[in-house]
Structure formats: structure tokens, C-alpha cells
Symmetry: C2
Subunit: 330 residues, 2 copies
Amino acid sequence: MAAWSERILIEKIRKSCKKKDKGLLKSIGDDCCEVVAPGPFLISTDSLVDGIHFDRGFHSAHLLGRKSIAVNLSDIAAMGGTPRFILLSLCLPADLEWEWISSWLDGVLEILHEFDCILIGGDTVKAKELVFTVTVLGEPAPTGAIYRNTAGPGDSIWVSGTLGSAGAGLQLLRNKQNPQNKVLFDGLEVLLAAHLDPAPQVELGLKLAASGMVTAMQDISDGIATDLAHICKASQVSAYVEANALPFLPELPLAAAVLEVDVESLILRSGEDYQLVFTVKNGVEAEFLKELETYSDTLMKIGEIRAGQGVFLQRKDGETEEISFQGYEH
Amino acid sequence: MAAWSERILIEKIRKSCKKKDKGLLKSIGDDCCEVVAPGPFLISTDSLVDGIHFDRGFHSAHLLGRKSIAVNLSDIAAMGGTPRFILLSLCLPADLEWEWISSWLDGVLEILHEFDCILIGGDTVKAKELVFTVTVLGEPAPTGAIYRNTAGPGDSIWVSGTLGSAGAGLQLLRNKQNPQNKVLFDGLEVLLAAHLDPAPQVELGLKLAASGMVTAMQDISDGIATDLAHICKASQVSAYVEANALPFLPELPLAAAVLEVDVESLILRSGEDYQLVFTVKNGVEAEFLKELETYSDTLMKIGEIRAGQGVFLQRKDGETEEISFQGYEH
């Protein structure tokens, strides 16, 4: 297999940068690119390092390309914005196969196309270690971006979908690497897919922001125990979460049994689900549910914001346990 | 020496992100930061890899912090823009000393302060290899950004200052590493400084853009043979440069003699001077020089744009040599 060449890679990137957009004044091929929007820009940048943030043994190049972008789109979704433009900074080992990086880029371009988002520039350098740095620019909803520091006592707490799936998927993939473990994946593919190809909640994030009823929001990348704690810390409030309200896929208990781990721990503490956790103004629940009717199958109210600080889990037996910042650490 | 800790590093970054600015709606501490400008944003992102783009044996952490930002500010200068906001994505080896990265960050903050530019966010990850990825956002002059693809036949070609200094400085530093070479640096410090602490031409770039007389521009990062070729390729024109018009520091010939290299080659082909090369509309030279009077000591007219393609060097004896894309490759 031939190694990549900078000339051919840049040619491929240049071709894909030719897409026109009224907000894009200058694309790749100058000292800077130039973009314009009617209002503010949301910006996020993240580096994904080989062996730390991803495992090429688990991920095909194509799915990893998709995920490299998905995790950044999720940051825009978490503010209720629309992703618009992407810059890539690629650190590539000299011996990386051309087929691999070409397939990675195809995955990148596929998901960008799905979200009507454009690659506008970046940088390619030779390095010992494979690192993808993605910078994403998005536009907040006309009603404004949703921050973390604006939740208030009395607000209800919601999640956009099931938790623990991606974490279970990652552990199943790791388990499979050990030849002593003969894990049956039959029926658990949905969990593997949650880790390998997460879906950023862009459309929902935008609807939530536009509703005018969401007070604070963020995405769940490190597990709800940590991500909800970020909202609480920024807003100087506490959160009380009902254990039996936390949504999970029907496949999760079987996976937990196979992995010999606790279902509840997977739900609370495992990362990379890229669902949204958000708070809704007190007293508008009926109106909110009507507005978000198309999402009624997946949205789940899980608790309440109160005065004080910390994130607490409440069990049916009345027991309360603090779980702040107990999530996944990369 | 103690290794860095993510918590202490992020605390230091957070403190420096507290600066307020009317264009900054949300700084570090949320899923995204949020910025707004009256017009477009210029954006550039670059990764600097240890051992490829810099040598920690030559660079103090502090000067490397300054340079990590300077090369990005130069991209904004090359469009005639004002740098406004910076995002950092840091890949740091686990055993990197805290004092080193703290001093690097001090260098970053020092140059940001000098250019009235603000750190607004980023990402910190553990990695095997030290990589700094800097994303800079700037605002073009009200008269508009200056691109590479807008030079026309008859335009004169100018540079903002002396060439070859940083390249000579780098070679002198490399030479010093070899214990067999006893290089005297007396009187050559200015060349070392040109490599170690380059000055991005932001103020001048803005004045050039505002003059309305500059047709195309870019910064000289890979040597004028390559960087002028980028303008020519993008604008579909050719450039004729007079060899005896190329400006260089009086110290350069001595350095070339010490290094046993050709002075002309240093001037044309060595990188990282971060001067500007630009073209001025035909027939406005007197007006242009009056407008840029304060820079009359450093601005130098070096040639002319013509139809055709390629970059050509013209010597006094009438000899013409093509030099397109003969510059420095990282």
C-alpha cells in the first residue's frame, strides 16, 4: 500500500473546498479563508489523538472521518446552532497509507454533506503521531445561543435520548480484542454503532433553542454525571436526577451482563453518547411538549434544578447519592 | 521538575481568557465560544510540530510561545486584516515540564497583548508528540481583504523588508549544534532574532489594505521564490524580479560566508521572514509612497507583474532565470 502524498491529499481537499456558499467569501488557497454571517459565529476546536481519542483497530477510516466531524458538530448542537464551516488541521505520519486517509476524508465529506456544512481550509503537516484537529464554525439560532450558565431553580432537566450506549459499545469492542473473551455481539450492534458512528443532535438543538423555553444546554460527551455538573457549576445551582427516569436502550442490560458492569454506571458515567442535556423553564412543560411533539418518543424528563450545588441521584427507595463529575475522562 | 497538570494549565488559560471585548459574546467555559463582528471574519489554522516546525534546543519556551502566535498573526496581516481572537489546541506529552509549558503560555499571552488580540478557548489533550494548533480570527480592513489572485500585468512588486534573515539565523543555530563548528555570532544576533522572534507585519498590512492601491498580497513564509509564485499562480500572471533590488540586512553576507552558502539563495529561497510581498496598481507609485511615507525606509520595489506565468529573476548582465517555487519546504 502506498503512503500518502501531500500534493495528492491537498488536491483532493481543494476539490472538496470548491462548494459555494453565500457566507463564504474566500475558501482554501489564500493566507486565510473569509466568512460572513448575519449575526455571531459559534466556534469550537478539538484535537483527536490516535490511541487516546480513537482506536484504529475499532474504527474504519470512513467511520472515523464521520466521527471526527460529528463530535464537533455536537458542540454546535449543544449551543442550539447550525454548523456552517469546517477547518481541518491534519498531523499525519509519513507512512500512513493513502487509502486510509483518503477513506477518512470521504467520511468527513459525507457527514459534512449530510449537515450542509462546508470544508473551507486547514493545514496538513507530517508528524510522528496521527492527530486530527477540527475547528467548526456555526451560527446560533435567531433567538440566540443557549449557554451552560443560565439554568435556574425550578427548571426541569431533560435528555434528548438514551444514555450509556456508546460507552457499552466501546467496552464491547475492547472486550473483543482479548482473545480469551468470546463475546456474542448478536443483537448488540446498535451499541457498537453508538460508539462508532454517533449522530450529533443538530436539528433538535436548533428546535430547542428556537422554542425559547430551554434555559441551559450542553452535549453529553463525558457522561451525564459530569456534563450536568458543568451546567450546575456554571449556573451555580444543583440538579436532582431520578434514577428510574434515565432512558437507556433495551440492549443495554444484556451488554452490562456480558461486560460484568453495572447498568446504572454505564448510563451515568460513560461518555460519547452525544445526546443533549438541557433545562426547561418552570411551568411551561405542556407547551414545551407540544412544541417538540415530533421528538416525544426520545425526549425524557429526568429531574429538576434546585438551589445549592452538586448533581444528585435520587433512587426509588428515597436514597440520594452525589454523582457530580463522576463521568468518563479521556 | 514537575510535569504539567491539566487542571492547573486550564486554570491558567481560563484566567487569561477573562479579558472582555465587545465582539466576544462567550469565552472559554461552554461548548463553543461566540464572537461577532460588523463584517466578515478572516480565519487561519496552523499546526506546529516539535522537531519539524521548531527545535526546543534553539527556542526558549517563551520565544516559542511568541512565535507560535506570530506565524498565525502573519496570515491575518497578509490579508490586510486585524487579528482579534485566538483558539489553542495543545497536544502535550505527559512528561512535559510545567515550567516549560507555563513559560510558553506566557509568551503566547505577551504577544497577544501586544497585538490587542484575545485568547478565547481551545482544547488540551495528552499526546506522545508536542503539537500546537493555533486558530486565529481577524477582521479585514473596511476597504476589504487583499487576496492572492488579484494581481494584474503592469502592477509593481514590493516587499515590506529585508529577506533571508530568518533563514540565515536558523542555519547559524543549526551550525552551532555541531561542536566541530566554532561559529562566532558576534554581530549576527539580529539574524538569530529574525528566526527566533519574528515580527508579524500587522500594522503595515492594514495600512496597505486601507490605501486601496494594493492589488494582491501574501506573507513570506517559504521564501519569496515560492510565495511570489503563489500570487502569480493564483492571479495567472508572471513576475519579473530584479536581483539587485532585493533588500537584505548588512549582516547577511558575513553569515553567508560563515555558512558557506550563497547570499542570493538565502534571500530568494529561505523561509520564515514573515515579511509581506505585495503588488501595487500601475501608475500610482508616487501617491502610494506618499501614503506609506512612514515605511519608506523598509518598503522596497523589487519588480513588475507581466502577462504569462512563472517567477523570473533578472540580473544586471541581462540574464533571466526562472525561480518559481524554489523556496523552503518544511
